[in-house]
């Protein structure tokens, strides 16, 4: 048996999990300092990087810290000194480093972090949903959500490029296990990143302090600048899209052109949902998907262009609502909102097919949980 399907593209093809794809991308980005504390299901990323450093494939300092708080703090310090930096985490790890996530963003330091998105307890759960990465929304990070191992690879490289232009840290989200541990075919593209650049660095001999106690309006001004620059980072993301695969910038529009019905989703389960959309399309239903590739900056413009019937399917909630449902509604769009797949609950093509059918039939409540 022979096929030619995967032969397109110029890079080397490899079977990689999203974890491994991210490690390969990081290797190409040549970070100076990597710090990490293991957590399922992120650990294989940093194990792979540790191997690369050990074997000399990657010339970086790999710091074995005692916690995620310290992981983020080490890369915060290293970035302050002018180093290209990387870390990865998940779930409780992200929760534990939360304070430092605010600091690295507030300090306007470029940095890249992979987040294998996993439920935060209690009760214990190591499986996928988006509750962890959504908690990062307020901290001032760029938050991308890949759908495939290929996109995880491309987005990680783009993350370095964008972060170092806009001076805002960048998180690359991949779904726990369904992406982190699932091996797919990835084209290792020959991307080349520019040299590290950043707004400032702290060196011996300087008589300057960074982040001293502020009074008056300085803190508010810093926060406002970050908010504005985070919004503006959309332009850099759109501009650099083609250099790291071509995905459409902040969003991917799938069969949306003539759609009467639109589904809004993010992350690794979008593929199953697309297959379900194809099934409905075959039946003549004009349905499509707006896949949010970025949660911050939020793709407000694309959301506002959606048709009138919108369903947002969420893997994280705030109160009874889904978080993306709330974000989408905040753009002035009327939405139906479904919360599903919390704690790794498998949602497959058949589930999406039934759900979208119910949506098209007008039988969905304003907010529903798929339990």
């Amino acid at each position: 048996m022979r096929a030619e399907g995967n032969r397109n593209g110029s890079g080397v093809k490899r079977l990689l999990t999203s974890n491994e794809a991210i490690a390969e991308a990081v290797k190409i980005a040549k970070p100076d300092v990597i710090a990490a504390y293991p957590i399922t299901p992120q650990s294989p990323i940093v194990e792979k990087l540790a191997e690369m450093v050990e074997s000399g494939e990657l010339d970086a300092s790999f710091v074995r810290v005692e916690s995620e708080h310290s992981a983020m703090a080490v890369i915060h310090g290293a970035a302050t000194a002018g180093a290209r930096v990387f870390t990865a985490t998940s779930s409780h790890g992200l929760a534990y480093m939360f304070e430092m996530c605010w600091w690295i963003a507030g300090s306007r330091l470029p940095a890249v972090m992979a987040v294998a998105t996993r439920s935060i307890g209690a009760p214990w759960n190591i499986h996928g949903d988006h509750t962890d990465i959504m908690s990062l929304r307020d901290a001032g990070w760029i938050i991308g959500m890949a759908e495939s191992a290929q996109e995880a690879f491309d987005m990680t490289l783009q993350a370095f490029a964008v972060s170092e232009v806009v001076n805002i840290p960048f998180a690359v989200g991949i779904d726990a296990f369904t992406m982190s541990h699932t091996a797919e075919i990835v084209e290792i593209r020959n991307a080349k990143l520019p040299e590290r650049r950043q707004a400032y660095r702290i060196l011996p001999g300087m008589e300057v302090a960074v982040n001293a106690v502020t009074m008056g309006e300085a803190r508010m001004k810093a926060r406002y600048d970050l908010a504005i620059d985070l919004e503006k980072s959309a332009e850099v993301i759109e501009r650099t899209d083609g250099e790291f695969g071509s995905y459409g910038g902040l969003v991917e529009k799938y069969r949306l052109e003539d759609a009467e019905y639109a589904v809004v989703m993010a992350g690794g389960w979008c593929g199953d949902a697309k297959d379900a959309i194809d099934m409905l399309r075959d039946e003549g239903v004009r349905i499509g998907m707006l896949r949010l590739r970025f949660i911050r900056p939020f793709p407000e413009k694309a959301v506002k262009e959606l048709p009138s019937e919108v369903l947002v399917v969420d893997r994280a909630n705030t109160g009874i609502k889904g978080i993306l449902g709330m974000e989408t509604a905040a753009c002035g769009v009327e939405v139906k909102n479904v919360v599903a797949g919390i704690g790794g609950l498998d949602v497959g093509i058949d589930d999406f097919y039934r759900l979208f059918g119910k949506f098209v039939d007008g039988k969905l409540e304003k907010v529903e949980w798929l339990i």
């Binding site: 399907g5 079977l15 797919e184 690794g268 199953d272």
Partner: protein, 171 residues
């Protein structure tokens, strides 16, 4: 066309490795492929499923395989709760079940080739050989895939895989 395979095995028997070797072999033959372990803390001896998808078109779905076309069973003691039309069994003798059944004595082959770890026969090599045969994967692609995925362990593993590839029978 999309082919979905579920591997039933026990933690430590090499189901995940087998899926990866086969996905890589399919990739080398120009196919799209995906290897997906059952998600969760792996425990040696506990039952685990591993999933393998091969297609001539890009594979977008990442949910678990609910209705596999093929089931490969590494340990006969595992109950087959699938209606798959094709079953590949690690077994010394034919087994009468409604599906079209292939069998190979993977444990014996693994042990003979010294593929044993802590008293457990590592079945990834012979079983990936057997499954490759059923999937119509070329032996050369399997060999290359084993070198990619297993590195220096590939040589011995491939001998076991090749043997299984050649001796697998169907009932």
């Amino acid at each position: 066309m999309l082919t979905e395979v579920t591997i039933y095995c026990r933690g430590g028997q090499g189901g995940v490795t087998a899926a990866r070797v086969l996905a890589t072999a399919a990739m080398l033959q120009g196919y799209y492929s995906q290897a997906m372990p059952q998600f969760g803390p792996e425990r040696r001896g506990a039952r685990v499923n591993t999933y393998l998808r091969i297609s001539d078109r890009p594979i977008r779905r990442r949910s678990v395989i609910k209705n596999p076309d093929i089931v490969a069973v590494f340990d006969r003691k595992i109950e087959i709760d699938s209606e798959a039309s094709v079953v590949i069994l690690n077994s010394p003798e034919p087994v009468q079940i409604p599906s079209r059944t292939y069998y190979v004595n993977a444990t014996e082959i693994a042990e003979r080739h010294g593929l044993v770890n802590a008293g457990w026969a590592i079945l990834s090599a012979p079983m990936s050989g057997a499954i490759a045969r059923v999937l119509d994967i070329e032996i050369s692609a399997l060999k290359e895939a084993m070198h990619i995925e297993l590195g220096e362990r590939a040589e011995r593993s491939f001998k076991a895989a090749k043997e299984a590839y050649e001796v697998i029978k169907w009932t």
